[in-house]
């Protein structure tokens, strides 16, 4: 009885009173614009357009309608079920993902779609919400701390990686990558910045090592030279800024500078040594020096610097090996996105065509339904992953900027919501939602305008497809439901 009474007092009789209507408005604008864009993308110049409408745009409106019902159900639901049942949801989704691998029919090589009568749904899109809830639940545990606890870190990473592994097994690498966004939440919640930094440096080294293979400096490739100089600079900077040892920084800078100068001098005098090995030796020596100094002065952080310097060099040499292990089409996608391969008929075709479509839009675009590149099917997947092209071609710079500003507004609003959550659970969940949106925006738009490799993930609310629309709707409205109850939660 007392439990019942408790529920009555804590339950919010009207989620709508404290609902974040701004977010709802942004959501509605975006889904409607999305459906219109899909109509434009699937519109055909010939008379079959009526059927195309029924096929994509009409369906999308139905998805939106049902999506609104789902949103309403979520808003009417008890806000506590999400925290309470976070793990069961999560486990259920994992099982569903695993089952999908076996029962899903083969769709272009992937096994990720479940058929329910006329509908096909992609569990991977819904698992995002469950994973975010599970992660939030983990962090909201009593006295849970990420920093300094390898045990907790493993748990968190495990929660993220479990669906990733299952989705990769479904052969939906793109969707799996979207879960990587959640690592950002780990950082926000106290994971060491060093890990993020290491990841960032790894990406930079990878790009440099793969991109600059040809021109020679000091008998090594430009890429190798850049990696070595970058490593030296970062090691020096880290020893000074991170390990706070100005003496070590000075000595390292001096040593590195002298060794580079020496190499150039000898080279110009005609003395050709294997400079690559020389520099590696210098960096390894610097590592040893840092470790010894660290031992002497009890500066543990210098070990990290040493590990970083030696690790970076080792990593750069394993990159080519690693790269060779990628599938050819993945290699191609990376190379094209780095601007190394300009082959309009090959892997770059999609991106080239999408840039042509967007680029031909001009300032104000060609007008609604007047885009030639998209109508004539030059752009692949134009109603799904490449929907941004249609907007770019038909609505021009004005349209694309408007869409990006809409997303910016939505994400900033979610971040604001995240910051005002009194409970760890809601906050972590909100950050998860924000990260997922950021990741999708970055990758999808970046891919379409040629800044990121082609990874098949949708643009939230714009790309055609019920699963992604519902997935994002659920993600967002669970957040709104939690947010609307924020004043009821005791701190």
């Amino acid at each position: 009885m007392s439990l019942n009474q408790n529920r009555r007092t804590n339950a919010d009789p009207s989620a709508f009173r404290s609902l974040d209507w701004l977010t709802v408005a942004l959501y509605l604008i975006m889904v409607v614009l999305g459906a219109i864009s899909i109509y434009a993308a699937s519109y055909d110049f010939d008379h079959a357009s009526i059927f195309s409408f029924a096929e994509f745009s009409g369906k999308q409106f139905r998805w939106i309608g049902l999506g609104l019902v789902i949103a309403l159900v979520i808003l009417l639901s008890d806000y506590r079920i999400y925290e309470t049942y976070a793990y069961p949801f999560y486990v259920f989704m994992l099982v569903l993902l695993a089952v999908t691998i076996f029962i899903a029919p083969d769709t272009k090589g992937s096994h990720s779609w479940l058929k329910f009568g006329p509908m096909s749904l992609q569990p991977a899109e819904f698992a995002k919400c469950a994973t975010a809830l599970a992660l939030a639940k983990l962090f909201s545990g009593y006295n849970f701390r990420l920093a300094g606890s390898w045990h907790n870190l493993f748990k968190a990473v495990g929660i993220i990686l479990a669906p990733v592994v299952l989705i990769i097994l479904q052969k939906e690498t793109g969707s799996a990558l979207a879960y990587m966004a959640l690592f950002f939440v780990l950082y926000r919640e106290g994971m060491s910045g060093l890990i993020m930094l290491a990841a960032l440096v790894a990406v930079v080294i990878f790009v440099v090592a793969v991109k600059y293979t040809d021109p020679m400096i000091l008998d090594m490739t430009k890429g190798q030279f850049i990696v070595i100089v970058l490593t030296m600079l970062t090691a020096s900077a880290m020893s000074g800024i991170y390990a706070r040892s100005l003496e070590v920084m000075r000595n390292l800078t001096l040593g590195f500078g002298v060794s580079i100068g020496l190499a150039f001098l000898c080279n110009s005098l005609g003395l050709h040594l294997p400079w690559l090995w020389f520099f590696i030796a210098v960096i390894v020596l610097a590592g040893v020096y840092m470790v010894l100094t660290g031992l002497r002065n009890h500066l543990g952080r210098l070990y990290a610097c040493a590990v970083f310097a030696v690790g970076a060099v080792a990593f750069s040499f394993s990159v080519n090996m690693l790269f060779d292990h990628l599938a050819p089409h993945q290699q191609n996608r990376i190379l094209v996105s780095l601007g190394i391969k300009a082959d309009p008929r090959g892997a770059g075709y999609n991106v080239n065509q999408s840039m042509i479509a967007i680029g031909s839009g001009g300032v104000t675009g060609k007008g609604f339904l007047n885009g030639t590149q998209t109508k004539l099917k030059y752009v692949p997947e134009q109603h799904t992953d490449f929907i941004f092209c249609t907007i770019g071609e038909e609505e021009g710079f004005v349209g694309t900027t408007a869409v990006i500003v809409l997303f910016l507004a939505l994400i900033l609003r979610i971040l604001t919501i995240a910051e005002r959550q009194p409970s760890t659970f809601s906050r972590v969940y909100a950050y998860s939602v924000a990260s997922i949106f950021i990741f999708h925006l970055c990758i999808n738009v970046g891919m379409v305008i040629g800044l990121c490799p082609v990874i098949g993930i949708p643009l939230p609310f714009f790309s055609y497809g019920g699963s992604s629309l519902w997935g994002f709707t659920i993600l967002l409205f669970v957040l709104l439901r939690l947010d609307s109850a924020r004043k009821l939660i005791r701190r």
Binding site: R188, T372, L376, T400, L451
Partner: protein, 610 residues
């Protein structure tokens, strides 16, 4: 901090979108190339009629086979080769050639084959649906009703990179006029290209016309030309010049219209049409081809004018007051002065200017020239006098291009005082040093066109209109300046006198062969010495004397005396033009000229193979 990161990303993306969509233009071009098949509609090139309305040059459709490489999918190559009549090897070779050409792109139409015959075209058109990526494009080829006047008409060739760079009208594979009227009237003849904008999807399928064809442009045919040529006369003059090297130019004095302009040896204009053009062109310009038929002798040949120069001399001497109509100079079988002798032939002595023209007296013109150039009392120095002399000649159309409406006109050569100053040293030359120029020898050179123009000027008694080969352009006016009257600074009465002298040459002098019973001809022979062997035979003449309809110049290289070839050919051309036929009494002259051969063993086949 997270918010800042998101804003940063958004800003980067917006900048990127700005460069893509606003700053860069290339994507719009790419997009157009992608989605639009701009099918060029070639206009019909302007036709050419002669002055009597005879159709001379017209068009015949030919078909180019176009191909868009990236759309060429699933074509049965062997079947295609059979249809258009080529071998598999030729097909592969052509594909290779196309790939090497600078304009190659898999997205844009490439010209796979040119000038498909009507039969192959019919076969191909029927089966075209089986060859995605291929389509045909209608082009035109020039056709000629008369195998004559190739040097005047010119021909049509494919544009080269220079043309494309110079004029944005041209795209690779277009045609442009080369040589002759085809070149100089290119912008009238070519017309305006039309375009049909078709939409093409990613699979190369045509999806209809863009905006229902609202932006399509129909082609506009080029303007027709009415040539000033009398094509029959041209043909006749060409036949007279067979097996002779040289030129015949006839002008209507009143209008400056060129009635015929023959350069011999000539060539068949149909050689430079169609697929064999390249091969034939190389054959015509080849150094092995001693005829150099593409060298238009009438227009570009620089010849010593010989005695045809004398009427001009007489005009200058009279105008400058060096002589009057009664001034007589002695001739003792030539001009003998200062240890110099310029030979002459037997005639009375001393004689004034008209008989001097009649008998083509060298001595008279040498004396006159000497008296002018060495008259320091009037001119101060020989150099000054010579400049005055030269300026008169320039006004008479010598030494510079006349500005005829056919490209590559030569300018001949009239030296100026500086030329001799350089050669002999300033003040170290006088009339006797350069006396041969007074009789059209030595340094002076003229084109047959300039000779004919001088004749027309005399026929007009004092003015001329720049010779031109086109009489009228359909629906438009003639280019500015072409029809202006140009009047040398010489009194009309002197022209009357010179004309009279030339009439006397016909009635009782060097050109008696031209003394037609029913047409009053006036003329002047020329026999030009040259270092290349036998004298050149030259003639200028006009008729009728009182109301000139035609002025003609004939120049036969190594033909001997002016009376041998120049006069008969000139008189035949005059008679043919005036009467339309040669009188029976003169048929033997015609036969002689048609059969005459000044070229020894180097006989060319007069009739081109058909």
């Amino acid at each position: 901090m997270v918010g800042g990161f998101v804003v940063l990303i958004a800003v980067i993306y917006i900048i990127r979108l700005f460069t893509l969509q606003v700053a860069e233009d290339k994507y719009k071009v790419f997009a157009e190339n992608n989605a639009f098949l701009r099918k060029v509609q070639y206009p019909s090139r302007g036709l050419m009629y002669d002055r009597n309305g005879e159709l001379v040059v017209y068009n015949q459709p030919a078909y180019d086979v176009m191909m868009i490489p990236r759309d060429m999918k699933g074509v049965d190559t062997l079947d295609f080769c059979r249809t258009v009549g080529i071998t598999r090897e030729q097909f592969d070779q052509r594909i290779d050639e196309m790939k090497k050409s600078p304009g190659y792109s898999v997205y844009t139409p490439q010209r796979f084959m040119t000038h498909l015959t009507a039969r192959d075209y019919g076969r191909l058109q029927e089966k075209l649906y089986r060859y995605p990526g291929f389509y045909t494009q209608k082009r035109i080829l020039r056709q000629y009703n008369y195998k004559a006047a190739a040097n005047v008409l010119g021909n049509v060739r494919e544009v080269n990179q220079d043309d494309i760079d110079r004029d944005e009208y041209y795209k690779p594979g277009d045609y442009t006029g080369d040589l002759g009227v085809e070149k100089s009237y290119e912008r009238y003849l070519r017309g305006d290209k039309g375009v049909e904008i078709l939409m093409r999807d990613a699979y190369g399928r045509i999806q209809g016309r863009f905006e229902e064809g609202a932006l399509d442009m129909p082609p506009h045919s080029g303007r027709n030309l009415t040539l000033s040529l009398d094509i029959k006369l041209q043909q006749y003059a060409e036949s007279l010049m067979v097996n002779k090297i040289g030129a015949v130019v006839a002008i209507e004095p009143k209008t400056g219209e060129i009635l015929c302009m023959v350069s011999s040896p000539t060539y068949d204009p149909t050689l430079l049409v169609g697929r064999e053009r390249g091969k034939n062109y190389r054959m015509l310009v080849s150094n092995d081809n001693a005829d150099h038929p593409l060298f238009d002798r009438a227009l570009m040949g620089a010849y010593p004018p010989g005695s045809t120069f004398k009427p001009g001399q007489a005009l200058i001497l009279l105008q400058e007051g060096i002589i009057d109509l009664n001034t007589a100079y002695p001739c003792y079988h030539g001009y003998i002065n200062g240890g110099l002798k310029v030979g002459c032939h037997g005639h009375g002595s001393p004689i004034p200017v008209k008989p001097a023209l009649q008998t083509s007296c060298n001595a008279f013109f040498c004396w006159g020239f000497k008296n002018m150039v060495d008259r320091r009392s009037k001119y101060g120095s020989s150099a000054n006098a010579f400049e005055v002399w030269k300026n008169h000649l320039v006004q008479l159309g010598y030494g510079y291009k006349l500005g005829v409406d056919i490209p590559n006109e030569g300018r001949g050569f009239i030296p100026n005082a500086k030329f001799y100053d350089k050669f002999y040293g300033e003040g170290h030359w006088s009339a006797n040093t350069i006396i041969s120029v007074s009789i059209g020898q030595g340094e002076v050179l003229a084109t047959p066109l300039q000779m004919a123009n001088l004749c027309a000027t005399i026929a007009n008694r004092g003015h001329f209109i720049t010779p031109h080969a086109v009489k009228a352009i359909q629906d438009t006016v003639m280019p500015e300046g072409l029809l202006d009257v140009r009047t040398p600074d010489i009194d009309r009465k002197w022209f009357e006198a010179v004309a009279e002298g030339m009439r006397m040459a016909v009635t009782g002098g060097t050109c008696r062969t031209a003394n037609l019973p029913d047409i009053m001809v006036a003329g002047k022979t020329g026999t030009a010495q040259n270092p290349h062997g036998k004298d050149h035979s030259a003639f200028i003449g006009f008729a009728p004397y009182d109301n000139p309809q035609i002025a003609v110049a004939v120049y036969v290289e190594n033909g001997g005396f002016g009376a041998t070839y120049g006069v008969p050919i000139g008189s035949l051309v005059i008679e043919k033009y005036m009467n339309g036929e040669i009188s029976p009494a003169r048929k033997y002259i015609e036969t002689n000229m048609l059969n005459a051969n000044t070229r020894g063993n180097r006989v060319i086949k007069s009739k081109p193979k058909d």
